[in-house]
Symmetry: none
Subunit: 188 residues, 4 copies
C-alpha cells in the first residue's frame, strides 16, 4: 500500500541512481564508479544511468554532492548545538565522535577528500567544504584555532577511514581541548 505507484517516477529514480552511486563511491572510491555497478545496485536498467546523467563524471559529481550534503547537515546540527548550549570542546568532541562513528559520514568525507586532488573538477568541492567548516568554527573560536581544529578533525577522519575504527573519544578530547581557543568578543 505504501508501495504507491512505482512506474514513471523520474524524481524517485534519479534519487535511487544518485544514492547507489554515492554508496559505491563511499565503498570503493570515486574512481571505481561505473555505470554497470550503479545500475546493478540501484536495480535499474543500464540505460537509465545515462538517461539521467549525460556522463559518468556528472553522475560522480552528483554522488559527491549528495555526500557533501549529508556532511553539511551534520555541520548545521553541530552549529545548532553551539547556539543552544554554547560552543565548548566537549560539545564539539561529542559531535565529532558521533560523526566518526557513522561509517557513511566518514566514507563520504574520505571520498571527497580523495576526489579533490585527483579530479580537478572536484577540488573546488573539497575546498568549499573545508572552507565552510572552518568558517563555522570561526564564528565561535579564533580563526587560528578554527584552522587547527579543522585540520586535526580531518586527520581524525582519515585515521578512522583507514582503521575502520572511530578514534577514541579521550584522544579527541585531549587534542581538541588543547587546540580550542574561544573568541574573545563578548557578543557574537
Amino acid at each position: 500500500m505504501t508501495e504507491a505507484p512505482r512506474r514513471r517516477d523520474p524524481e524517485r529514480r534519479r534519487r535511487e541512481i544518485v544514492d547507489a552511486a554515492a554508496a559505491i563511491v563511499v565503498e570503493q572510491g570515486p574512481d571505481a564508479l561505473t555505470h554497470r555497478k550503479v545500475a546493478a545496485r540501484a536495480g535499474v536498467p543500464l540505460g537509465s544511468t545515462t538517461q539521467y546523467f549525460a556522463t559518468l563524471d556528472d553522475l560522480r559529481a552528483a554522488a559527491l554532492a549528495a555526500l557533501i550534503a549529508e556532511a553539511e547537515e551534520w555541520l548545521a546540527e553541530l552549529e545548532a548545538v553551539f547556539v543552544r548550549e554554547g560552543a565548548s570542546p566537549s560539545a564539539y568532541v561529542a559531535a565529532l565522535h558521533r560523526y566518526l562513528c557513522d561509517p557513511q559520514l566518514v566514507g563520504a568525507d574520505f571520498a571527497v577528500t580523495c576526489a579533490g586532488p585527483l579530479h580537478p573538477e572536484f577540488t573546488a568541492l573539497g575546498v568549499h567544504w573545508s572552507t565552510n567548516f572552518i568558517a563555522m568554527l570561526a564564528r565561535y573560536i579564533t580563526p587560528e584555532s578554527a584552522d587547527a581544529v579543522a585540520m586535526f578533525t580531518d586527520g581524525a577522519t582519515m585515521h578512522t577511514a583507514l582503521t575502520a575504527q572511530p578514534v577514541a573519544k579521550e584522544l579527541l578530547d585531549r587534542a581538541i581541548t588543547a587546540l580550542w581557543i574561544p573568541r574573545q568578543e563578548t557578543t557574537q
Copy 2:
C-alpha cells in the same frame, strides 16, 4: 667500464618500472595505474611490465611500497634531528613544513592514505606507516601526545594535497606547540 653493463640490467629496469608506476600513482591515483602507462612512462616495452610483476596489483603494491619508503626516509631523518638536537615542537614543525613543501612526499602520503581504505590489501601498509610514525614520536613525547600530533599531521598533509599549497608554518607551529607534551623520563 664506468658505463656499467647496460644491457641485461634487470635491477635497473625493475627500478625504472617501479618509479614510473609510483609517479603515476601519485599523479593520477592508485586506480589509474595501467601497464601501458607505466611502460610508456618508463620507456620500456610493454612486455617488461608483466615480466617483472605478475599482475598489475603486484606492481601497484611495489609502487606504494616505494612511496612509503621515501616517507620512511623522511621519518628517519626527522628522528636523526631529534637525536642530534633534541625533540622540540620547532624542530618538528621545521621538518613537517619541509615535508609539506615537497609535492612528491605529499603526493605519496596522499596516495597511500587513499589506497588504504579502498584496497584491503593496502590497509596494512597504511596502518603500518601510521603506527611507525606514532611509535617514533612516542619515543620523545607522551603516547597521547604522539597520537594527537600524528593525527594533526595527517590532516595537514591532506589539506596540502587538496589545496596544492603547503599549510602555513605559523599554523603548524601553534597547533604542534599546543599538542606537544614531552616525555617526563630523563633518559630514553
Copy 3:
C-alpha cells in the same frame, strides 16, 4: 488573427522537422541523421520526431525529398529562362554558376548523390533527378548533348562540394559550349 493558430499546427511542425533533418543531412551526411539531432535543431521535443515519422528512414527520405524539391525548383526556373530567352550555353552557364554558388543547393545535390549508391531505397530518387534533368535539357539540345552536359554538371557539382569553392565560370563556359548541340527541329 494574423498570428494564425500557433498551437496545433501539425503542418508547420512537420515542416520544421523536415527542414532540420535536411540541414543535418546536408551538413553531416545522410548517415549522421539522428532523432535527437533533428529535435534539437528544430527546437521540438524528441517525441515529435517519431510522432510524424514512423522511422528514422522515413524522416531521412522526407529530408532528401525536400532537398530534391529545391533542386527541381532551380531546374524549373532554368527552363523558364530557356522558354523566355531561348536555350543557350551562356544562359545555362549563368544558371549553373548561380547553382554552384549556393552551398545549400550544392550540399543538397551532393547529399542525394551520396545517398543513392549507399542506400538502395534512395537510388530511385537520384536516378529520377538525373533523368528529369536530362529530359529537360533534351527538350532544347540533342539527347546525346543532354547526357554529356548533365554529366559534366554532376562533376562540377561534386568538385564544388569537395573544394567548397564554386568552379570558375570560364571553365564552365568553355566546357558547356563544347558540349552543347541545339536540337535541329524548328518546333519544340
Copy 4:
C-alpha cells in the same frame, strides 16, 4: 602447402584488416564503417582492429588511402599508354570505360568523393587525387581542357556509381572528343 605459416604475421593481418575496411567503405560508405564489421569481414577478432589502428578514423583513413592507391595505379597505367601510344581521346575513353566497368574502382572513387566534404580530414585526400588527375592530363592537353575532362570524368563516375551501370562508351567518346584539346607544344 601454399598456405604457409599463418600465425603471427602482423603485416598480413594488417593488410587483411585494411582490405576488409576498404571493401566495407566501398559497399556501404565511409560512415558505415565499424570495428565489428571489419573484424567479421576480415575474420579476425574484434580486438585486432584496434590493435593495428588506434581509432576507427585511422582505420578509415588507411582504407581510403588503399582505395586511392588503386586509382593512382590506374592513372599511372593510363599515362603509360599515353607515353607509349600518344594521348588521344580514344585512348582516354578506352581507359575510362575500363575504369567504369570495374565496380571496385568506381566504388573507391565514389567513397573518396563522399568522404571529402563530410569528413574534413579527408578533404585533402580528395583534393590531392583530383589535382593529380588534372596534372597528369595537363601534360598532354591544355590545362583548361584537362580541367574540363577531369570534371566530366567525375560526373561519369558518379553516374556509374548511381546507376550501377557503366556509362555508354559512345557517350564518353562524344563528350571527351569535344572537350579534348592537345597541347600545342611540339615537344614534351
